[in-house]
């Protein structure tokens, strides 16, 4: 389903933030276990001051419920189609988790910590259910609200969407599926001769 257009994000968010106060406190809405745990903010691993997390840190940034949510969000950004797998198959959520786990950029971590619960709150506001329980059309409708307002970077949910898109694009198009199945990239191999326009079938316009 698509949402009534145009949506005024600034006006709408006042309403769903009231809802969010309820959800984050004593829940007024029915919340599935999965969605409820996705709302919880994980405690960051304790890192001694002035040190850098080791690359092989065993902890994950996302809880398993959040990981499931990020998988669906990323798949909504770049879905599977008849040509190639999408972000889920390309394990983009793992890529994002690793980045957030290891980065020294606390602002970026906050964008994700704040953004995931806000997506849930939005979903509940517009569709009365969590993102993972939503239909593909409902998921697209939620992210379309944010994509249409991508310039409102003072809003945390918009910052989250922009980061989600950027990191999904980065993770997907550097994956095996992205490079080989989707783009069918031809380079990075030994070529005895250079190839140019005269070696390619003429472009029909």
């Amino acid at each position: 389903m698509s949402l009534k257009n145009p949506i005024d994000l600034r006006q709408d968010r006042r309403q769903w933030l009231i809802t969010s106060a309820g959800v984050l406190g004593a829940s007024l809405l029915p919340v599935s276990d999965l969605a409820a745990s996705a709302l919880q903010v994980p405690t960051p691993p304790v890192v001694p001051h002035g040190t850098v997390p080791e690359a092989q840190s065993p902890a994950t940034f996302f809880t398993s419920a959040q990981h499931a949510l990020v998988e669906e969000l990323a798949e909504t950004i770049i879905p599977a189609d008849s040509r190639s797998g999408g972000a889920k198959a390309a394990k983009v959520a793992d890529f994002i988790d690793q980045f957030l786990r290891e980065t020294s950029d606390d602002a970026e971590k906050s964008v994700w910590r704040d953004g995931l619960p806000l997506i849930e709150v939005m979903c509940r506001h517009y569709h009365g259910k969590s993102f993972v329980d939503s239909t593909p059309e409902e998921r697209v409708a939620i992210l379309t609200v944010l994509s249409d307002h991508a310039h409102l970077t003072d809003l945390p949910e918009v910052r989250f969407f922009n980061s989600l898109k950027r990191m999904t694009v980065d993770g997907y198009y550097t994956s095996k599926i992205g490079i080989h199945d989707e783009l069918q990239y031809k380079g990075n191999r030994i070529n005895m001769e250079f190839v140019g326009c005269d070696d390619q079938p003429p472009a029909k316009s």
């Binding site: 850098v52 997390p53 690359a55 909504t76 950004i77 770049i78 879905p79 189609d81 040509r83 999408g86 890529f95 690793q98 980045f99 290891e102 980065t103 020294s104 950029d105 606390d106 697209v140 992210l143 994509s147 991508a150 898109k165 694009v169 980065d170 993770g171 198009y173 550097t174 994956s175 095996k176 490079i179 989707e182 783009l183 069918q184 990239y185 031809k186 380079g187 990075n188 191999r189 030994i190 070529n191 005895m192 001769e193 250079f194 190839v195 140019g196 326009c197 005269d198 070696d199 390619q200 472009a203 316009s205």
Partner: protein
């Protein structure tokens, strides 16, 4: 390819014929030429000898790299925005990162090649100073565009009245450009342009379809588009066992070098062959802090250096000192080398050391889409050392009313490993399809313009700030001027007009000027000339004040031209070292 030769023990009690400071394009070339004449040479490099193939990993797939080729998250490389809102030194404010790098250090393949900004601070005006301290210096990761200068550059003052002419003309340097071409290899296509002389080219790369379309459009305007003239051996070099010919592999677009050394780098192209003569000794981790002078003769006696790791201080003696530390580091060393005889710094009786500092202004350009390429199957466009070059067309036969000198464009098109079209709005199935359809359709180019060599653009020593080794830091007094900014406006306009002529859809016109220094083409802090009052070195790069001191890097260039400097640095250095060796043999110096 052969393994690098084993370094022999460094004997610091020896009197070397020459000590060379710096192992980049200039230091490598000096080592090659002097040892080929039988001179015993010690080459000092401030950085490490890196296991360079392990750094570059030219064919590694992003998904086989933990960070997909990006910098590890404990490190940070400076962005354009950070260079714009901050002032040097750039260290403070980034304490949470273990390493802070210049903008070039933004990949897993370059991070160990460029220096840590905190260990190597500088002060003054904004400047994106990219430094590579390791054997080979910046040649390990250079852009490879290898262009000749012409008398439009060497005699520019005679044409427009600004600055100084070089004390040489094209005829003086042409035989040395030929030597560099043949010894190191260069790819390109002959164009017979008086303002961009041809090299002795090996097998050229090929243009892809959008590039051919642009070439045809430019031809209608009387402008030229030619294949990227890259310092890359495409046919191989029989005399060099350390370098392979180019096999058109991927990752040439990625910041980083060539792990089969088809692209020129100083170690495999110059230093290893020089070591094989038995005349070259290399000492890495040697941070030179002063060129010492014999107070009785006024001649250079050797250099003092600090072991970069143990911090121990050493001195080595030599009959000649060859300064090749890079334009800015060479100026710094001369200013550091103060003595009773040379109170303003070595070879600085003119007061010109550090001055006339120039480079290339960058940023303006255009990005477009060739509609004929939309929806076509992916093509093989990667694996070329570069796309195309559009030589200068301003101030040749006619005079531009707004600015003097000129600019050229570098550009390319086609399917790169990471798609170009992901900046479009939206997401989902349609986004994915748009990226796929446009994969090979984008084309872009950006300008490099001459920054005038002005006395008031200069560097000196900071009175307070020191680097990790306790050596006074460099302080910048450098800004683009009116001529550059007017030129930048023209760059943007002509870029757009050329894409329109080619029939491309304009996606974006860039008018943003990048931070000073972005070109990494800094030049001119010890310019050459016939008059010791207004220049630092002679046409043979011999210091006017100190006859056994030669400054053989880009610091001696009289102007920046708009053509990339590396090939000229090496041709001039070869010429000077031939002169030096000849004078040495005759016992004249």
């Amino acid at each position: 390819m052969a393994e690098p030769p084993k370094s022999e023990e460094v004997d610091l009690s020896k009197l070397y014929d020459a000590v060379v400071i710096g192992s980049g394009a200039a230091g490598g070339m000096a080592s090659h030429v002097l040892t080929s004449h039988g001179m015993k040479v010690l080459l000092l490099e401030a950085g490490k000898k890196l296991p360079i193939e392990k750094e570059l990993r030219s064919m590694e797939w992003p998904y086989d790299n933990r960070y997909r080729g990006d910098l590890p998250p404990n490190s940070h490389s400076l962005t354009f925005n950070e260079y714009t809102i901050r002032n040097p030194p750039y260290g403070p404010g980034f304490e949470k990162f273990k390493h802070l790098k210049s903008y070039v250090g933004d990949s897993d393949y370059t991070k160990n090649i460029v220096v840590d900004e905190r260990e190597n601070p500088y002060t003054g005006t904004r400047y994106a100073w990219v430094r590579a301290r390791c054997l080979g210096g910046k040649t390990n990761i250079w852009g490879r565009l290898a262009l000749r200068l012409s008398d439009y550059d060497f005699k520019a003052k005679s044409r427009d009245g600004f600055g100084e002419d070089w004390p040489i003309s094209y005829a003086d340097i042409a035989p040395y450009y030929d030597k560099v071409d043949l010894y190191l290899g260069i790819t390109g296509v002959k164009e017979n342009l008086p303002y961009l002389p041809d090299s002795i080219f090996q097998r050229p790369t090929k243009l892809n379809c959008a590039e051919v379309t642009l070439q045809q459009g430019l031809r209608k305007m009387g402008r030229v588009l030619t294949q990227y003239r890259a310092g890359v051996t495409t046919d191989g070099l029989k005399h060099n066992k350390y370098r392979s010919r180019c096999y058109g592999r991927g990752a040439c677009e990625r910041k980083g070098g060539c792990d089969i050394h088809a692209a020129f780098d100083s170690p495999t192209g110059l230093i290893y062959p020089a070591m094989d003569t038995g005349n070259l000794t290399v000492r890495s981790n040697s941070t030179v802090r002063e060129i010492t002078v014999d107070p009785n003769t006024g001649k250079a006696s050797g250099v003092s250096f600090i072991d970069s790791e143990t911090m121990k201080d050493y001195h080595v003696r030599a009959k000649f000192v060859i300064l090749a530390a890079s334009t800015l580091e060479s100026a710094r060393l001369l200013l550091l080398s103060k003595s009773r005889l040379f109170p303003n710094g070595l070879a600085n009786s003119s007061g010109h050391v550090g001055h006339n500092f120039c480079e290339h202004i960058m940023g303006p350009g255009v990005y477009g889409r060739d509609k004929n390429r939309v929806g076509k199957p992916a093509t093989l466009d990667d694996g070329r050392p570069g796309g195309f070059y559009v030589p200068r067309f301003r101030n040749l036969d006619t005079k531009d009313p707004n600015f003097i000198r000129a600019y050229g464009f570098e550009g390319g098109s086609g399917c790169q490993m990471f798609p170009s079209g992901t900046g479009i709005p939206g997401f989902g199935a349609s986004f994915k399809e748009e990226v796929r359809k446009n994969y090979g359709a984008f084309i872009g180019m950006g300008a490099f313009g001459e920054v005038l060599a002005r006395y008031e653009n200069y560097v000196d020593l900071d009175p307070v700030v020191k680097d990790k080794w306790g050596i006074p830091a460099l302080r910048f007094h450098y800004k683009f001027g009116d001529n550059e900014l007017k030129m930048a406006k023209d760059m943007k306009e002509t870029a757009q007009e050329m894409f329109e002529e080619a029939g491309f859809e304009i996606v974006r016109v860039n008018d943003r000027v990048l931070t000073e220094g972005w070109s990494i083409h800094e030049l001119g802090t010890s310019r050459m000339g016939d008059d010791p009052k207004t220049s630092v070195v002679s046409q043979f790069q011999q210091a006017h004040d100190v006859k056994n001191l030669f400054i053989v890097d880009g610091s001696t260039h009289v102007n920046a031209s708009c053509q990339n400097p590396t090939w000229t640095i090496m041709a001039l250095c070869w010429r000077s070292c031939d002169y030096l060796a000849d004078q040495f043999a005759k016992g004249n110096i």
